[in-house]
Amino acid sequence: MLELAIKGGKKYYGWMTFLMVIVGVGFLFYMKQLDFGLGITGLSRDTSWGFYIANFTFLVGVAAGGVMVVLPYYLHDYKAFGRVTILGEFLAIASVIMCVTFILVDLGQPMRVFNVFIYLSPRSVLFWDTVVLNGYLFLNIVIGWNVLEAERNQVHYQPWLKPLIYLSIPWAVSIHTVTAFLYCGLPGRGFWMTAILAPRFLASAFAAGPALLILCCLIIRRVSNFDPGREQIQSLAKIVAYAICINVFFFLCEVFVVFYSNIPEHMDHIKYLFIGLHGHGAYVPWMWTSISLMLIGIILTVNPITRKNEGVLAVACVVIFLGTWIDKGLGMIAGGFTPSPLHEINEYIPSLPEILIALGVWAMGFLVLTALFKIAVGIKEELHE
């Protein structure tokens, strides 16, 4: 099936070349980072995780979001999603690859990464995150590939896949739960110390993942002869609508607990992000943009008139994707580290090399995603013609 990924028109190759150039630029800067150390980033003694880990966290969500097409199709026998499950699985594969790459570029000593497997440390949440992420990658490759191959040969997929498919559903929940546990189990980090962090992560994941999937479906319809289907897109849109509402609701729950209890250690982080603290407020405009985008997203997806208009829906999906990205990709990590455990404020601003490396990782993920979607769409075209 791989041959389908190298049979494409000029536009396809143009897009792939464009992505490869960005990957190349990111890679060059990564070489610089390897040589100099993580000092070329904006990270500091106080904010020791930043843009890489934030993007990692966001993308774990996108990967988990893939389950929103797998679950209705396999558990509820919602036939319409049969056309798009493969897209969800392939999106998960590309996202997990980006996640793993973000972790690798974040390491100070990446050549020692196998120490994680040599000195197994089950008490570390990072160990479990490695396990669940790699497991999820493996499950989606095996399931996606075999189901697609069976579809191409017009036979039913092998029965041994069924248990793996069922396993992949709770596994998707687990990847984002464990990722939230990285943060919410740390004593003395008031911003993250909330039991609702994992549910919050999942809610934003189930908004951002399917939103990206809708955008992919709309693009696929334009550039190929395969139509993922109006009903499919509308069902996904309803999932996005519910998830983004729940996400904002969870955030408001957080705001209530933090401010009604009036505990400074918990309030200070949210204050820093939304109104600024002791004269520092680099994230204030971003956070309000994020909230506004999510609210606009709610209005556009909940209202049936706007949701049913695919042009408006596309805008809504972009808005929701950006809103949740700012929330998780910018605020979640920097906000947790500021103020520091000694209650000092040293603001974290990602550096240009750091942003370019991150862009390179995103481009690499989209390279994988495009190739995978090219294969899937190629097979769908063969079958539906």
Binding site: F36, G37, L38, G39, T41, G42, L43, S44, R45, D46, S48, W49, I103, D106, L107, G108, Q109, P110, R112, V113, N115, V116, I118, Y119, S121, R123, S124, V125, L126, F127, T130, N153, L182, Y183, L186, P187, G188, R189, P264, E265, G336, F337, S340, P341, L342, H343, E344, N346
Partner: protein, 263 residues
Amino acid sequence: MDSSRRRVLQLLGLSSLALTATPVLNAFAKEAGHAEEPKPVIKPNKKALMAKQWAMVIDTRKFESAADVEPLAEVCNTIHNVPHLNNKRHEIKWIWEAHYHNAFPGKAGRFLSEEVENRPFIVLCNHCENPPCVRACPTKATFKRESDGIVLMDFHRCIGCRFCMAACPFGARSFNYRDPRPFIKEINKEFPTRMKGVVEKCNFCAERLAEGKLPACVEASEGKLTFGDLYDPQSEVRELIRTHYTIRRKQVLGTEPSVYYIV
């Protein structure tokens, strides 16, 4: 699709996998103790200082100004090859001076006497009895030494994920954002330098305790710092804790810090 060719390829794949079986089986056979592996023998130094859990008592009343803290930090930095980096983001700190409000956020009272407010507070790794950094480490590169409770770092195992820095509620850990060696004034060959990309922190002078010497900061403090075994009722630290009102940083988090402050 040519299924017979496919079958042959599958068989080829499986048989090449089978070729790897012997070395793997051999490895397992060794693990089970069939082959005797020599165990390293460490000869204990008779002079070495031992304790169940090392602890430190800082008498903050004896610190008046930054000048009282400086020699302590200086000796630590010198013997441990702690670099001096001008970029605040890349700073490496093992022991340093903090304001009362920063050392004890959430605990600092209001309307204190000016003398207490402006006292320099020494902060360092607390060598917690329940260290969250050790829990967080995915490679056991940071660990709590069972013999004396010191939280140590293996600089050669650390992968630089910085999970321990997120886990530490005391900001005690530093990361080498760049090669630290050019920023060390004079290298002490008795202690390892670090490379870029690893985390480091105070080690309660484990290398000095092994030779029967007290931690360098304690030695330099001229009695302002006291060091001893927390679980020896006769020890000097226990005596000070018994007879003085002491506080610990963020005690409410349950990490059980081993550094006590007399205020």
